[in-house]
């Protein structure tokens, strides 16, 4: 029983990582109805920047964390301006293919700069992975940090979109682009800002998972798949759904990896099964609304 609880906690921790990357995907989906296949690679690149800051420049972990997020937001903004803007008005599938192109460019560039050799990444100081006893259940402090960060991220984003003028403008630009433009909202720039925010959120997911999974240019590919599963499960337009979906996928994978013999390597395929099953049974996800297509 304690074993199960322990697995659930560590599942929630990695689930938090899937949740934050899923949040990033949802941010972009809400602003342009496209899936960003390069989200994971962008997060990986951000994590390498953090690694550079921590191990080469010897910055404090938390300072490096903050700088990385800021740099990622700027980077995401620029990527949108340069690469996505020309296809902003194109069908979603075109945008998808552009993001797939980005996927390979970012992965290749990271490989050129940092090589494909696996590197260790420091965990957050003050939150050692050494477990503490907690009513007979031992829980890693770092796991708690992961769960906490995800919740904080969700609260910050919620507050941003709900209570700031910029957040309101971004929501308006996504929902009613033409009306917003008439009212003086720079809709295209709001899109770029959405990409910036998504890159920042994705950077957090990368920095959180790197101490566990280690750092290499391919590290985010499975995470991206689980994040897609999480986003689809929660309803691709719903940030709260994405976070819940992330936690659910994390716990499911942890339990299956531990208790189903021989299933550890099949976790990626399990992500595929979740995606296909959810889309078939309930295409809107747990929290989404059903779409009605007009003929």
């Amino acid at each position: 029983m304690q074993g199960v609880v322990q697995q659930i906690v560590s599942g929630l921790a990695t689930g938090g990582v899937y949740a934050s990357l899923a949040l990033a995907l949802v941010l972009i989906y809400r602003s342009m109805e496209a899936l960003n296949f390069a989200q994971g690679e962008m997060a990986m690149f951000s994590t390498f920047i953090a690694w550079e800051l921590i191990t080469v420049v010897h910055l404090n972990y938390y300072l490096a964390f903050a700088i990385t997020i800021a740099v990622s937001i700027a980077g995401g903004f620029l990527i949108e301006r340069i690469v996505i803007r020309p296809v902003e008005k194109a069908p979603p599938l075109t945008v998808v293919l552009v993001t797939l192109g980005l996927f390979f460019v970012i992965n290749g560039v990271a490989g050129l700069i940092w090589s494909y050799v696996i590197k260790p990444f420091p965990g957050p100081p003050g939150f050692p992975q050494a477990p503490i006893e907690f009513g007979g259940v031992s829980v890693g402090l770092q796991d708690l940090f992961l769960i906490g960060m995800t919740v904080v991220l969700l609260v910050i984003l919620y507050a941003f979109f709900q209570y700031t003028k910029l957040g309101l403008a971004m929501r308006a630009a996504a929902l009613y682009p033409d009306t917003s433009r008439l009212l003086g909202v720079r809709t295209s720039r709001m899109l770029a800002l959405g990409w910036g925010l998504a890159a920042g959120v994705g950077a957090v997911s990368g920095m959180l998972i790197a101490p566990i999974e280690f750092l290499d240019p391919n590290m985010m590919q499975p995470i991206l798949l689980y994040a897609f599963a999480a986003a689809v499960l929660g309803g691709i337009e719903n940030p709260v759904g994405a976070v819940v979906g992330g936690f659910v996928v994390g716990v499911l994978l942890a339990l299956i990896g531990t208790y189903v013999p021989g299933a550890r390597d099949l976790r990626l395929a399990f992500g595929l099964v979740i995606i296909v099953a959810v889309l078939m049974v309930r295409p809107g996800g747990l929290f989404g609304r059903a779409h009605v297509a007009r003929v």
Binding site: E33, A34, L35, F37, V83, P86, V87, K89, A90, P91, P92, L93, T94, V96, L97, V98, L100, G101, L102, F103, F104, V105, I106, N107, G108, V109, G111, L112, Y176, P177, D178, T179, Q221, P222, L225, F228, A229, V232, G262, D265, L266, R267, L268, A269, G271, L272, I275, V276, L279, M280, P283, A293, V295
Partner: protein
């Protein structure tokens, strides 16, 4: 002067190209290039299949590399476990992959556009870990070494030349088969499904039948290509069937779609040669080049793959009717893919 739907000039071009392809390994190509062109023919088969799926039935697949893996491993396992000669494994490889694709077509029926891209992306990512997991059958990470293939008929061909002709003959057969299928009622039904599902269904076309069939045919082609790939390489390993393979197929199809009547061959040549050039020029994996090319193609082809293929078809039809511009181009309708209309544009 038309025969089997082609003008005399198109027939002439096809025959000249075929003769060049038949003579090339004897007079033009060294051993290295002969093998590379054997790969070109094998990949061209996969691209024809992908074209049936995306170009004709309008469904995208980022995961056809997984079906190639099924084909390659069918050949490898049949040899490795049962000592079946490779020549007898090619058709089963295609059939098993085709069956898998047909079955995958059923969940895919419910998914359109973005979601299908997502599901097939997951399929592409899952292939290699699944192969590794069943190591009793697939030999896991280590892969399976296949025997070197030699000319069985004693024509005096080198191993490379034999592989080249094997791949070429199968590619030509499958090309003819695809043309025959797409030129007839099946092709019309598939195009109708692509252009408007509602209109197609109203005309009595079974959407599920044709869409799953397109997935099956596309996977069958991918399976044959995978089997040939395994035979040419004489080795299969899980890492050969990763995401970049599926993506390179996509890049090859988009690029090929821009070219002349031998689109898949041009695309396949590109996919085979790009990594070699990338290695020589940048000492790097081809990933960056694939990525840049994909992004640039999308900039130049704002209507996306489907629109591009449609433009190609319009252009091709005009061309194959002996240069006379016809009214056919007009009834192609708007070039935007169906899902754009479904979603409405911008702020409607």
């Amino acid at each position: 002067m038309r025969f089997a739907g082609l003008s005399a000039r198109a027939w002439g071009t096809a025959i000249v190209l075929l003769v060049i392809a038949l003579l090339a390994p004897l007079f033009l190509l060294d051993r290295f290039n002969t093998i590379q062109f054997a790969y070109v023919w094998a990949l061209a088969i996969a691209l024809i299949g992908l074209n049936v799926l995306t170009g004709y039935s309008g469904q995208i697949s980022l995961g056809n590399g997984a079906f190639m893996a099924i084909g390659a491993y069918t050949t490898a396992i049949l040899y490795f476990k049962l000592k079946v000669p490779y020549g007898l494994t090619i058709l089963p490889a295609g059939l098993i992959a085709g069956l898998a694709g047909y079955l995958f077509g059923f969940p895919a029926l419910k998914l359109s556009g973005l979601y299908l891209a997502l599901a097939t992306f997951a399929l592409a990512l899952s292939a290699s870990p699944v192969i590794k997991n069943f190591d009793a059958l697939t030999n896991g990470h280590e892969g399976i070494v296949l025997p070197t293939v030699t000319d069985p008929f004693g024509f005096g061909l080198t191993n490379e030349q034999w592989l080249y002709y094997l791949a070429l003959v199968i590619a030509v057969l499958l090309f003819v088969f695809a043309r025959a299928m797409l030129g007839g009622a099946t092709g019309r039904a598939l195009r109708a499904v692509r252009d408007s599902e509602t209109a197609a269904a109203a005309s009595g076309i079974s959407l599920s039948q044709f869409k799953t069939m397109a997935f099956g045919v596309s996977a069958f082609y991918a399976g044959i290509a995978g089997s040939l790939y395994a035979t040419i390489t004489a080795y299969v390993s899980p890492d050969s069937f990763d995401l970049p393979l599926s993506l390179s197929l996509l890049v090859g199809m988009v690029l090929g779609g821009l070219a002349t009547l031998a689109g898949p061959v041009v695309g396949a040549a590109f996919v085979v040669w790009l990594p070699i050039f990338a290695q020589q020029a940048f000492h790097n994996k081809p990933d960056i080049s694939y990525g840049v090319i994909l992004v640039l193609l999308m900039f130049l082809l704002p209507q996306g793959i489907v629109g591009g293929v449609r433009q190609l078809l319009a252009w091709y039809r005009r061309r194959s009717s002996d240069g006379e511009p016809t009214a056919e181009a007009a009834d192609l309708g708007p070039a935007a893919p169906p899902h754009a209309a479904e979603r409405g544009t911008g702020g409607s």
